[in-house]
């Protein structure tokens, strides 16, 4: 197809079954309605904020910039990728780029950040990083992804925003 893809042959994994949204919301005796947990961040299910739209807004469903697969399918993100501390309003996402020199790493990281920024309450502090040992310039990528001013400037670039929006758009309409 298009030559020069960073990763010509991504490994596609079977994805885990989704929790039923309605079943989740009825478990209010087990889980505090206000607390945000790991799986919730992973799903970005906010029953109190959204309704059926929630199904299409999952960080697990963020599309890889180069292939028509989700980050979950490529195992770039898994449930274990997400660490949440709701009392401290802190979330950390660790993602695994498919290839060690993946230059798409910053785009993927940016997509995850934007998705979370748009979905989580504004009190949340978000840290994004590549899984240790999975990228050649790990420290450099992490530094860029977590520099608020650089992220803000990048998001004023219409081309970049278009790319991010494309990755975040639902796979089906």
């Amino acid at each position: 197809m298009v030559s020069g893809l960073i990763n010509e042959n991504p490994i596609v994994y079977e994805i885990k079954e989704r929790r039923d949204v309605r079943a989740y919301s009825s478990n209010t005796d087990e889980l505090s309605v206000d607390a945000i947990d790991q799986l919730e961040v992973f799903d970005i299910l906010f029953v109190r904020l959204s309704n059926s739209k929630a199904l299409s807004h999952h960080i697990r469903d963020i599309k890889d910039p180069e292939h028509p697969y989700s980050l979950e399918q490529l195992k770039v993100l898994t449930e274990d990728s997400v660490e949440v501390d709701d009392t401290k309003s802190h979330v950390r996402v660790t993602f695994t780029p498919t290839v060690e020199h993946c230059s798409m790493a910053t785009i993927i990281g940016l997509c995850v950040r934007v998705k979370l920024m748009r979905s989580l309450p504004s009190r949340y502090k978000i840290d994004i990083r590549v899984a240790p040992g999975t990228h050649a310039t790990e420290a450099a990528v992490n530094k860029q992804l977590n520099d608020k001013e650089r992220v803000a400037a990048a998001l004023e670039n219409p081309n970049l925003v278009e790319m991010v929006d494309e990755c975040l758009s639902p796979s089906f309409e």
């Binding site: 504004s122 009190r123 502090k125 530094k143 001013e149 803000a152 400037a153």
Partner: protein
């Protein structure tokens, strides 16, 4: 006055609402009760204090000039001009005409986002810095003319802030490359060189340095960083004033453990209180310890920490130059500018 012996509190005087995006910076006018704030909404707001009610209100909005985020603003020493630095790559100079502000000049040249702008003590020079890694010095000529006098290269990454020394024409810059650089023109001929770099090997920061501030005398400096610390530095500037050559800056102490997120801003007040603003939504206030340790040198203690001063990251803290009261302005990602008063609790 030993502040540590009193019970101090930072009281919120007023919340200034109006910006429709995060507020990056706030700057007090040096001569009048006016505050400027700049934002991700591409505008600058001018807030004025009413002499009758003592409350602050938005006098004017400077818009339709910058086409992207306005990242920082700085008043000239006379208080008549305001320089605004923007992600659109330009620095605008505004003149206060009383009823309104007029953009009298636009400085172009940086290749990408301008992060900071600073006037020297006499108002004869401006400095700007950018993600393009360079620091520019501009000469203020008559008739609203500004000329690029120097382009300083040396930083290896995005330069976050520039600041002129309060009494000498020595320029300081701090960067994403974790260093602070000092620029000086020894022969005073406008040929600025990097005369010192404060990096990890000289007890410097281990991550991005976001801000610099000097004490009133200009012989001490505080810097803050993504490494979660504030660092105090000193130099023998009397040596420089007497023409004995460059006096290097040395590390005095490191303040750590007070903020658990990036410290974006720090400001040293004229009565020696250091304020810090960080990504943990808190404002820290520090004073020099009275117990002088002759072995280790001066140390600083936390006077107070105002948790949840804002609902989101604090990007800027600035003490008012007014001698009357200890007023502090803070600007945040939550879109607010807040004015605080440091008071003694009876």
């Amino acid at each position: 006055m030993d502040l540590m012996e009193k019970n101090m509190e930072l009281i919120e005087v007023q919340k200034l609402e109006g910006h429709t995006d995060r507020v990056w910076n706030a700057a007090w006018n040096p001569v009048s009760p006016i505050l400027a704030s700049c934002s991700g909404d591409n505008t600058v707001r001018i807030w004025e204090q009413s002499s009758l009610s003592r409350s602050w209100s938005c006098k004017t909005v400077l818009e339709e000039t910058h086409t992207r985020t306005v990242r920082s603003c700085s008043w000239s020493p006379s208080g008549k001009l305001l320089a605004t630095a923007s992600f659109d790559g330009t620095t605008a100079i505004w003149e206060d005409l009383g009823d309104e502000f007029e953009c009298i000049s636009t400085l172009e040249g940086h290749e990408n986002e301008v992060k900071s702008v600073s006037w020297n003590a006499s108002g004869s020079y401006l400095a700007t810095c950018s993600r393009d890694k360079s620091v520019w010095i501009w000469e203020v000529l008559g008739g609203n003319e500004y000329d690029c006098a120097s382009v300083l290269n040396g930083h290896t990454q995005d330069v976050k802030m520039v600041l002129w020394h309060p009494t000498m024409d020595v320029l300081f810059s701090c960067s994403y490359d974790n260093t602070i650089k000092v620029w000086w023109s020894e022969d005073d001929d406008g040929d600025y060189q990097c005369v010192q770099t404060l990096d990890e090997s000289t007890n410097g920061h281990s991550s991005t340095v976001w801000a610099i501030s000097f004490n009133a005398a200009g012989d001490k400096m505080v810097t803050c960083s993504d490494d979660l610390t504030l660092k105090i530095w000193r130099a023998d500037i009397s040596m420089m004033h007497s023409g004995e050559g460059y006096a290097p800056w040395t590390h005095v102490c490191t303040l750590s453990g007070y903020h658990d997120r990036t410290i974006f801003s720090t400001h040293w007040s004229s009565d020696d209180i250091i304020a810090s603003g960080a990504g943990d939504d808190a404002i820290g206030l520090f004073v020099e310890s009275k117990q002088h340790d002759s072995v280790n040198g001066p140390s600083f203690n936390l006077l107070l920490k105002k948790e949840k001063a804002h609902e989101m990251d604090i990007n800027s803290v600035q003490w008012s130059p007014s001698k009357e009261n200890m007023l502090l302005a803070s600007a945040s990602d939550d879109g607010m500018v807040k004015i605080w008063q440091l008071e003694t609790i009876p």
